[in-house]
Structure formats: C-alpha cells, structure tokens
Symmetry: C2
Amino acid sequence: MGHFGKTRISVDELYHGIINHDRLMLSKAITLIESRRKDDISRGAELLDKIIGHSGKSLRLGITGVPGVGKSSFIESLGSSLTQEGHRLAILSIDPTSSKSGGSILGDKTRMEELSHDPNAYIRPSPAGQTLGGVNNRTRETILLCEAAGFDIVIVETVGVGQSETAVKDMVDCFLLLMLSGGGDELQGIKRGIMEMADIIAINKSDGDNVAPSKRTKKILENAVHLFPPHEINWVVPVSLCSALSKEGITDIWKDIESFIAMSHSEDFFKHNRQIQNAQWYRQLVDEKIKHAYFNEEKSAKYREIETKIIANELGVRNGLRKLFES
Amino acid sequence: MGHFGKTRISVDELYHGIINHDRLMLSKAITLIESRRKDDISRGAELLDKIIGHSGKSLRLGITGVPGVGKSSFIESLGSSLTQEGHRLAILSIDPTSSKSGGSILGDKTRMEELSHDPNAYIRPSPAGQTLGGVNNRTRETILLCEAAGFDIVIVETVGVGQSETAVKDMVDCFLLLMLSGGGDELQGIKRGIMEMADIIAINKSDGDNVAPSKRTKKILENAVHLFPPHEINWVVPVSLCSALSKEGITDIWKDIESFIAMSHSEDFFKHNRQIQNAQWYRQLVDEKIKHAYFNEEKSAKYREIETKIIANELGVRNGLRKLFES
C-alpha cells in the first residue's frame, strides 16, 4: 500500500483496493472521480475503464422525498434489515447544498447511526455540482465504483427539491417515492411530475394518530395511480404504508421492490432500461465535454452573468446570446 | 409588395407585412425562421430583432393530450367562440412526425374545418426537429412572430406522446391537459409526469353514456390533485368536464384559463415565469449554437451511430465517448 497523504496513490492500487472491497480505497477513488483537476480527470477515466467489467451487478434503488419525510430513518431501518440478510449496501446521497457549503446535513453520517457503524454499509454524499445550468455530478460513476467494490445494493437518495430527482430516476432500476399523509402543501418544493414517475410509493410515519390519515391518503393515491399514464411494464404502482419509527411495513416495501425488479426482468425491461440510461449518460457526457471545450472560466462566468440578467428582465434572450458569442 | 416566387423577400418587407397583420408574410417569415440555410438563419435573426418589440403581448396557451382525446375538435370549439368574441387566434401544432414525413395529420388544416376558414384564426404546424438527441424546433420564435402579427391568443398544441410536451410547458403561460374518462391505459405513450404539470385538467367527450364515467374520473382526479406537489402559485388545479361534440363545458374551461392567468398576474408569477422561460430558451440556444459549431454532418452521424450502438448494448458509454472524440 503506502502512498497516502500528499503522495499519489496509483490507479492500479485504487483498482486492486476496490475489487478487494477496501473501503478506504473506494473513498479515495470516488474523491478522484469527483475532482475537476486535469490530471485527476485522466486518472479517473483510466480507473473507470479498469473497473467497468466489475460493475453493473447491483440493484440500483432511488429514494426521494421532501425533507421531513423521514428518508434517513427509513433507509436506516430498511438498510439494517438488508445487511442482516447478508447484503452489502452503498448509500449515495445527492445533496444539492453540499457543493456550496462544502458540507451539509446530508453528509452527516450520524443521521444513520446504525448503518454508519455497519461494516456492510457504506454511506457517501455525492455533491450535486451545478455546471452551466445543469445538474452535473459523478453519481453514475460512483455507482459503478461501489458495484466494483462488491456492493450488491446501491441506494441513491435525493431530497427531491431540485433537479436531482429526475436525474436519479435516470440512473436507477427502481424509483421509490416517500410521502406523508396529507401530501399537497407538505410536498412544497418537490418537482412536479415526480409522483407519476415513481415505481413504488410509500407513505411513511404511518404510526399512532397518523394511521387513519395515512390510510385515507393511500386510498386516494391508489385510485389516482390508475389514472396516471401507465408504466412501461405491466406494473401498477403500489402505495404502501410504513413507519420507520415502529419499523412496520418496511419489509413489505422491500418485497414491493423485489416484485418490481422481478417483473422488470421478466419483461426484459430491466436491461433495456439500463441501455436507455446509458445512452442518456453518453449524451450528457458529450454535452459536458463539448461545453468544457468551448467555455473557459471567463466565458462560463459571462454565460451565467447573462443568464442572471435575462432572469432579472434586464436583457433580452437574443441580445444575451449575441453578447455571449461576440467575444 | 412583389418579390414572390424565387426572388427573395427582404427582411424589411417581411417585418412590415407582419406588423400590418399580413398572413402571407407571417407564413413566409415562419418558413424563414425554420430554415437551416446559413443565409436564412442570419436573415431570420435580423427579422426577430426587428419584431421583438412587437411581441410578448399574447396569452400563450399549451394544450396536450394523447391522440384520440379530441384535441382538434376541442380547439375548433374553443377557438371559434374566442374569435367570435373578437380575439385573434394563432394555433401552432408541434408535430413529432412532420419532420420525418414532410407532412402529417397535424398539418392537415381540415381537421379544424371552421377555424381554417376563419379570418381571425391562423393555423400552422411547427415541425419538431430532432437534432442531436433533443427536441429542437422554432416554436418559440414562431410564437413571437404570431404575436407581432397581432394574434392575442397563441395556442401551442402537442400530441403529448414524446418529449415535446415538457418543451411546450416551458413556453406557455397556461398548460391544459385534455384527458378522457378512464385514463390509465388510454394514456399509453404519454410522458409520465405530465399530469402533475398541468395548470388545468379537462376531461373531454363527457357526453352521452360517457357522462357518468367522466364524473367518476373527475372526482378521483380532484382528490388526487390535492396530493400532488403544489402549484407555484396559490392555485388548485381544476378538473372540468367538457364535450367538444356538444360544445358543453368549453366556455367554463376558458373561464378556468382566465382565472388562472388572473391569479398568475396577481401573484407576479406570470412575468416571473416568462423570465424563467427566457433563461431556459437562452440556455437551449447556447447549447444548440455550441453543438452546431462543434458537430459537422459527419460528426453528427457518428454521434448518432454510437448512440444507437450503446442502446443496442454493442458499445459501452466510455468507449463510445472515446470513439466520438478520437477523430
């Protein structure tokens, strides 16, 4: 081993570390992938090429829900039962705030007390870097690295209040929406459209006085789901009740997930969906590469400055475009 | 006038024609805007700069719904009552098929028999050009031209089975979803998430034996709407019944639209929304411009070829990326 601290770890060491399930090496590899330094980018690419054959074998699960819905305790409860069954679980939290603050609530591992000490669980925030107007992070690459490191379930968690949840939908095999009874105003800030995209809906905090309203919400959603545009496969989105607090309903939701994945495989959708997602990933990478070739830092700043002026109604779109490209 | 046929009409003539409500000049201007010929592009840009001060004053209404929902007869019925009230109405149909076939059902004006002979209505298909993986057409520019030509209501119609309906949502002030009783499988092919994005939901063909099931669907959707992520403004999405056949309910839906627009103005959302849409338009134009600078025809073909191979699982994403940029 060696080469810690300021000395660079070689790509080869990272590779061997990862496929030997070395968590420290995995963490260092993810940091490498997230780096924007020129030589890190080429080393990261080299590493990805090496591990790609070891990736792809996990179940990729997306979980979204507004702050306060109890995502962390849900994942803690679900995750603990999964690791007890012998699964190895990676949890990636896409955090819209971490790119600004350099740290945040989501990065705080103590949110998941039990899992953070579980040798079969790996928790890692995935900063949602905003570049040139789009969500642009390394979560897809991080999933591949976790898979190569032997994690057979990868959970991608988002707070669901920005653009990240559509991005997550596009990188997972199953997309779970956590809700609360009542809905509506409690969903303030969540992207409209997300409910229809869910493969599974779970109403959390269905305990105590909340059981009756949760049941009402479940009933309404079950009716509504039949009016939603139909799923790509022969699947009616289940609406389940659970309580991360009392741990009730959690294993049933896992059964829902397993049923969905089984159906997805049996209709050949699972593989097809991943291929479509790969094409999307390819398009994003091409976009990114072209933009990076075109925009230096100065130009990026100008791009954003013009965007701000357009939003403030101080500049027209066509004049803005001209201003950007005149130099 | 003059300069028809093979002789070019000057930008100045087009400009004066448009602001003097000359429909032929408007049509020629739209054709110019849609052209991909290099000198047409610069003339189109010049024209847009000239008319921009005359644009922006219409109510922009998006209407979506799957084929068979009765969009044409709904628009015919709504549109005729609007022109009778003295409105001037432009109808732009975004047609996912017209770019391939060079003509299609949507371009067929006889779908709207009455409106196509109405001097206060203007119907025009807007081809949904697919370039480099994204929806990419000139509908936004066409809206501006129609506004400059004195149309105070612009309807943008999509069949709602592709990517175009999200694009339309992003260019209108009010987004109306036409549905049928039953929903679910009848919505086959519609983009999931579109229901939650609607400002107004109307259940069409609520006549005869269909009245009772339509009322049931209305009830379910009204309940569901309260569970949807809330609207940006203090607005509960109304679910209304109508019949384009019997012409019942159509004027009530127009009242819904007017209420929504009034609320949108009173909360300062109307203007804000257009500014956000402008920023989005700017981002799209920048993307497009950069891609066109980067991709020649050969490169575009290669881009698509690699994309196809990735979808067919014949090529990995990273190798595909490498292949594209190696040359």
